[in-house]
Symmetry: none
Subunit: 199 residues, 4 copies
């Protein structure tokens, strides 16, 4: 049992580091944040961080990959739902707009990575792979929705990337969005896709 306890403790501390680093990276960026600052924020020593992550970069990897997987699986769940393509798209937009606005801090890290592809090669490729996965799935749904006459016409892939750009941009610009504003943003997202609701 002590083994279990240790593993759990280890995992907990790992998470503390990830949280601390996320918070700092998201406002100060990767280079302007020192490992010492992260350690302090996580309530441990400088050197302890390296018993959990072999390098600062590996820590960034962990931060990036985690939510990417989460979101990917959440998306898959939405995609596997029954229903009209337009309806599914609407749910996806709602879910993503909300999460992007709420998880601004995470997105800002993704953005840091994306804005410096030459430095964060590996990470930005991972993000790009995820993005492509999303856009591909959206493209397919959009095609179906257009075929079903639920959506306005327009090149489906371009539409997919347009929507993706929109959602990414939303995360970038830091609103304290209330529920009303979120609803507006969701609606505008649907419009890009060509889904005109109520009217």
């Amino acid at each position: 049992m002590s083994r279990t306890v240790n593993v759990a403790l280890r995992e907990k501390k790992r998470q503390q580091i990830i949280d601390a680093a996320s918070s700092l990276f998201s406002t100060r960026g990767f280079f302007a944040t020192t490992v010492s600052e992260i350690a302090k924020e996580a309530g441990m020593s400088h050197a302890a961080v390296f018993t959990y992550f072999s390098s600062k970069e590996e820590l960034l990897d962990a931060i990036i990959q985690g939510p990417l997987k989460e979101e990917s699986s959440r998306l898959r769940k939405l995609l596997s739902q029954e229903g009209a393509p337009g309806r599914i798209l609407e749910l996806i937009v709602k879910e993503q707009v909300e999460s992007h606005i709420r998880k601004g801090s995470y997105l800002r890290i993704v953005q840091i990575v994306l804005s410096q592809p030459a430095v964060f090669d590996k990470q930005s490729k991972a993000v790009f792979a995820y993005s492509s996965e999303i856009v591909t799935a959206l493209t397919r749904l959009i095609e179906q929705g257009q075929a079903a006459g639920e959506l306005l016409p327009g090149d489906p892939e371009a539409t997919g990337w347009s929507y993706f750009s929109y959602v990414s941009g939303l995360g970038m610009i830091n609103h304290d969005a209330d529920d009303n504003l979120v609803r507006e943003f969701v609606d505008r997202g649907c419009r890009i896709i060509g889904l005109l609701r109520r009217g």
Copy 2:
């Protein structure tokens, strides 16, 4: 005349540095780019850079502020045009989508700045001021367009920010977009605003 020549030469070299730095900042970011690299790229010595810019940060300022002013004035020209609000908005969207896609490297630098507001405080405030200016102008046009029945309804300010997020996101995700794709992106931008063309 030699004075004139000197001034021109100076300006030319300044621009060389700005170009070199823009190129490097946009892929490697600010911190991962060294002044030496910039100097090398610009074909001069390390120390020469400091005769044109008193610090690395001042160089970043120059890079950021230049296009901001240009774009601001281009926008003002478009806004002062005669015509229906919908038509003006369409022109603005066209102009911005094109420029954002073409000036990807510049936008990536803006993005670097925006993604680390705690580090680039001054610069991100400048960008934000510019953004607000744009969004305010758009909001007004959108109100007018909605009143004229040219646009779909929806909170005008939210719509303005939605559009702005979209355009920013487009710049972030840097496609080598051909003319066709650009046209699609313009169309999707119009949709966000509520301007449904052709139908």
Copy 3:
């Protein structure tokens, strides 16, 4: 106990750095001495110095302030002695002449500081405050000694500063003075004050 050991070790190393820096500063001056040289002399790496002193200037501060405090307290002890003013003054002169000649290297650092007040503002103010303290105390004793008829007449404060200049100058011009010479210097110091011994 290991804590105690560590603290002691730390203090010891700190002192090594101070010694190394004192030695170098006193012959090469502050600016012509590099931190690397100090580190080498102290038998450690370049960067290690910065774990003990946060900057080169802080190191200078430590060097200056230490002996200042020591000397100040030694002076206070002499001043609080019982006895005729002339006798006390004689003891002070003896003590200071000796220490100034012996601690030549420290005094040369003080001199460096005093000779560049615009650069070493903080430090030269500290030294000046100490000087004033001494001169004030001396002035009072001289007044008493004159009143008691032990000393030649003359403005007491001017006499105090004269003596102080003398002692400072002695430190500046660094002789390898033997005991005999020291005795002569002490006697000349007493003369300035107006204390004629043996006659």
Copy 4:
């Protein structure tokens, strides 16, 4: 004639540089003063300084040597006077105390040099040679004065160095001395030598 004019002009500019540098060196020291600052103060360009002095160090040489020679010749004049040794010594003390207090700025440069002998090897040797010359001459006079019963007894060379330390120290400590104070300082200088005036 134009040759004469040019030479005169050259000399004038040289002096401007020397003055500017003296003023700056005396408060900021040698290393903390940049050639640019000197040039600015002297009202010329950066590079112009190097047409008058081949290096920053040569400029320091010129600053140091000039007054050294002046003072040396002034001293020689005083020494060659007719009169009792005590009387001559008194004149020398008067002259030197006055000049040291008035030429504080020059002395501070001498002091900078003396305080960093390892860096300013050549210059400090020149100063030391001059000092020795003075002290030697004083020593001889003191011997004569003692023999004549004009002075208190005491080792003449030690007395010479004592006096020299005193005068140097006076220059180091920056008094705004009025005539009265100067008179006191002169008197204290005489006392060191063993010359008790008026009584």
